[in-house]
């Protein structure tokens, strides 16, 4: 058992547990918190995969931004602020079956794949490479991304305006 394997096992457990929490807990606020934990665990997985830059991005955008947004949205969509929001799930068995089927389907492909080679060496620093690519080969997608964000902003503003 190498350190890496231990780390992986631990992160995996946390990630899975928090994911289950997101989808199973009746309290919506708790679900958000579980989601935050899941997002951070995903970031750690990125770390394990030698992508520290992505770890940073994940924390900033997901754990920071998305969670905040969702919390606000929950607060705005409940009649009485402060009350614990209870909710139950519908058709648990059907959902479980379908999810299981999809999982089995995907794993089926994995099982048939040939055994993978060990990790090759990473050439150079990841962050630098990412930065260079963003303004080099991937400059156009970057710009388009900017446009998309502007549009999303405008859309959200439009929806959020008061009536009348």
């Amino acid at each position: 058992m190498t350190a890496e394997m231990l780390a992986f096992a631990g992160v995996a457990v946390v990630l899975l547990a928090s994911s289950l929490g997101v989808v199973l807990t009746p309290n919506l606020f708790h679900a958000i918190l579980y989601l935050a934990v899941a997002l951070v665990s995903t970031g750690v997985v990125f770390l394990l995969l030698d992508a520290p830059f992505l770890f940073g991005v994940q924390l900033l955008l997901y754990a920071g931004g998305v969670v905040t947004i969702v919390v606000f949205a929950i607060m705005l969509t409940e009649r009485l602020v402060g009350t614990s929001i209870r909710q139950t799930n519908r058709y648990l068995v059907n959902g479980a079956l379908v999810s299981l089927a999809v999982f089995v389907g995907v794993v089926g492909f994995l099982v048939q794949a040939p055994p993978s080679a060990p990790r090759p060496a990473w050439p150079g620093d990841l962050t630098v490479a990412v930065g260079q690519a963003l303004v080099g080969a991937y400059a156009v997608p970057l710009e388009l991304l900017g446009v998309l964000l502007v549009i999303a902003l405008l859309g959200a503003l439009y929806f959020a305006r008061s009536e009348g």
Partner: protein, 617 residues
């Protein structure tokens, strides 16, 4: 060149004139709506056609031309020469027919102008249009050089007959009669067309001249001919009202009387006899068919004569008389002397037309067809003299032509020793004299029996036409008696006396029964009760046909209708109903719940996984 130069052109003129008249009247509506204009167009063209027909007769055409008398143009192309051609065949047969058709058409059209004076103007235009079409069809029929062309015109003539019989189409009886005529003749036509096609398939041609040549050179497949000729004979059976397809002719009297005079006395019904005469060189190869023809013709003659003896409607008596005389003509052909039959056709055409037109006069006077309500016209010879002349001609009294032609037919029959048909024809001659003079005595002489007022003023035009026809009959008789050379069948010496005796006996009996009341008709009927009973009911043939029609044809039609409504439509309705129901059920998939759609996506993805697994294996 043995045919007269230009005879074909004249024939085409004769053919084209009535067709032009028909086109004009059919297409130019104002012309048709104005009855005088329509009549003028039709009568003028017919007069010109008659002149042209007369001119064709001026050239001399030998009886057995060495080259084809036909002028043809190819019509249906095929490898190795045209499959069918159209044209005209001008020989002695067709020239005489041209003359007969144009003459009688002209006279009938003139007569109609006076007879149908009460008709609404526009429908009279329609009448003349039909007359022109009929003239064109009949002339085309007699001028046809091929079986195929003759068949086409044959059908056209049938169509015109339907149109003219059903001229008063709002009368149910007339409409039914027209349909009946069409159906019954169609039965015969089925045989005709089958025969023609079979003939083509064994010989490869429709052309008369070619076929006759093949026959004389011995290249015809004679073994195949008898059934073919029998089928072709069936066409003649239908058109010329031989037993058992004679039932349409009495009912066809629903049409206007001039129409009956034209097409059911002189022209259309003679098409069958014409066919047999024209195709006689081929019939010679089928002696059994000829025997059948003789027997059927003689039997038809007797049957029709018996029915004429008990009929009260004057037009129907004349209709039966026509059937009877057609039987004579066919019997003559069957006995191997088609020329005698043809001669009888020509003369009969004239005096039968006269009989019908004369009947038209008395119908006009008495406003009824029932002979038992007529009488008392002795003092008006202008009315009865032409009719009596025609009656004498029909009965076979010299010097009128009927005597000579009937004698020729009987002689021909004796020549081939057909005693059976001869006897039938002899008895028919007796009955013919009887029933015709029965008509004469009841209609014209004796005390007047009609109730209500009689319309004694008869338009001069009708009289003029009748007198013209009477004069023609007499002239023809005199011509045959004194000027014609030897013709088919002189017969044994006792024949003229024999036939005269028969005629005289018939006239005497009629005189005794109806003029002098020496013999009571009712007593005679009682004596001959079974025959009388059957004759009055037309021997059940009409009922038989009606029953067959209703049972088989209408039953079959009902079956097909049921199949169409419940099976064909049913299938379509079921398919459409299922589609609607399926659509309704499928609609429920759209629940509006977004998660259900995600289920759909998930299922789709699973399906793709399965497919991919399959492929990768």
């Amino acid at each position: 060149m043995t045919a007269r130069v230009g005879a074909a052109d004249l024939a085409l003129i004769v053919l084209g004139l009535p067709f032009a008249s028909f086109l004009l009247l059919a297409l130019v509506r104002p012309l048709r709506r104005s009855a005088p204009a329509a009549a003028v167009v039709s009568i003028a063209t017919m007069a010109l056609a008659f002149v042209a027909a007369f001119l064709t007769l001026q050239g001399s055409v030998p009886r057995r031309p060495a080259v084809s008398p036909s002028t043809t143009w190819s019509w249906i192309p095929a490898d190795g020469g045209p499959m069918a051609s159209v044209g005209v065949m001008v020989d002695e047969l067709s020239m005489w027919m041209l003359l007969l058709v144009t003459l009688v058409s002209l006279l009938v059209q003139v007569y109609s102008w006076a007879y149908l004076a009460d008709e609404p103007r526009s429908s009279l235009g329609r009448y003349y249009a039909y007359h022109s079409l009929f003239a064109f069809s009949m002339l085309g029929l007699v001028l046809s050089p091929t079986f195929l062309q003759m068949f086409i015109f044959w059908e056209l003539v049938g169509l015109c007959s339907y149109l003219l019989i059903g001229f008063w189409y709002d009368r149910p009886a007339a409409a039914r009669a027209a349909v009946k005529a069409f159906w019954i003749t169609k039965l015969g036509d089925l045989g005709f067309v089958a025969g023609i096609v079979m003939l083509w398939s064994v010989t490869g041609t429709f052309d008369f001249w070619t076929l006759f040549k093949m026959g004389s050179m011995g290249t015809l497949p004679v073994d195949a001919l008898p059934p073919i000729m029998f089928l072709i004979y069936l066409g003649a059976v239908g058109k010329s009202a031989q037993f058992p397809l004679h039932v349409w002719l009495p009912d066809a009297m629903e049409g206007p009387t001039p129409v009956s005079a034209l097409i059911h006395a002189a022209t259309m019904v003679t098409a069958g006899v014409f066919l047999v005469t024209r195709a006689f060189p081929l019939f010679r190869f089928a002696p059994d068919v000829l025997t059948l023809m003789a027997w059927v013709g003689a039997f038809t003659a007797l049957l029709a004569a018996s029915m004429a003896c008990v009929e009260a409607d004057i037009k129907r008596v004349l209709a039966y008389s026509t059937i009877s005389q057609l039987g004579y003509m066919m019997a003559a052909a069957g006995a191997g002397s088609p020329d005698a039959g043809f001669l009888h056709l020509l003369t009969h055409g004239v005096f039968k037309a006269l009989l019908f037109l004369g009947a038209g006069i008395v119908i006009h006077v008495f406003h009824t067809n029932d002979m038992f309500r007529m009488g008392g016209l002795r003092g008006q010879p202008t009315v009865w003299l032409p009719f009596v002349v025609a009656t004498l001609a029909l009965t076979g009294v010299p010097p009128l032509p009927g005597f000579f032609t009937k004698e020729a037919i009987l002689a021909g029959m004796l020549e081939v020793r057909r005693w059976g048909p001869f006897t039938l024809l002899a008895v028919t001659a007796f009955l013919t004299a009887f029933y015709m003079f029965r008509v004469v005595f009841l209609t014209f002489f004796g005390r007047s029996r009609h109730a209500g007022h009689a319309h004694h003023h008869v338009p001069g035009l009708m009289h003029a036409v009748c007198w013209a026809l009477a004069a023609l009959t007499l002239a023809r008789g005199l011509q045959v008696a004194f000027f014609s050379g030897p013709h088919d069948g002189e017969g044994p010496g006792w024949l003229p006396a024999f036939s005269l005796t028969l005629a005289g006996a018939g006239i005497l009996l009629a005189w005794a029964m109806y003029q002098r009341a020496l013999v009571d008709p009712a007593r005679v009927a009682a004596v001959l009760r079974p025959i009388d009973w059957m004759a009055r009911r037309r021997y059940g043939l009409d009922a038989l046909y009606a029953g067959l029609y209703r049972g088989i044809l209408l039953g079959f039609a009902r079956l097909i209708g049921w199949i169409d409504r419940y099976l064909v439509d049913g299938v379509l309705n079921v398919v459409s109903a299922w589609t609607l129901r399926a659509g309704d059920r499928l609609r429920r998939l759209q629940t509006g719940q977004p998660q259900d759609y995600v289920y759909g996506v998930a299922f789709g993805a699973l399906l793709l996984f399965v497919l991919a697994h399959w492929r990768l294996r």
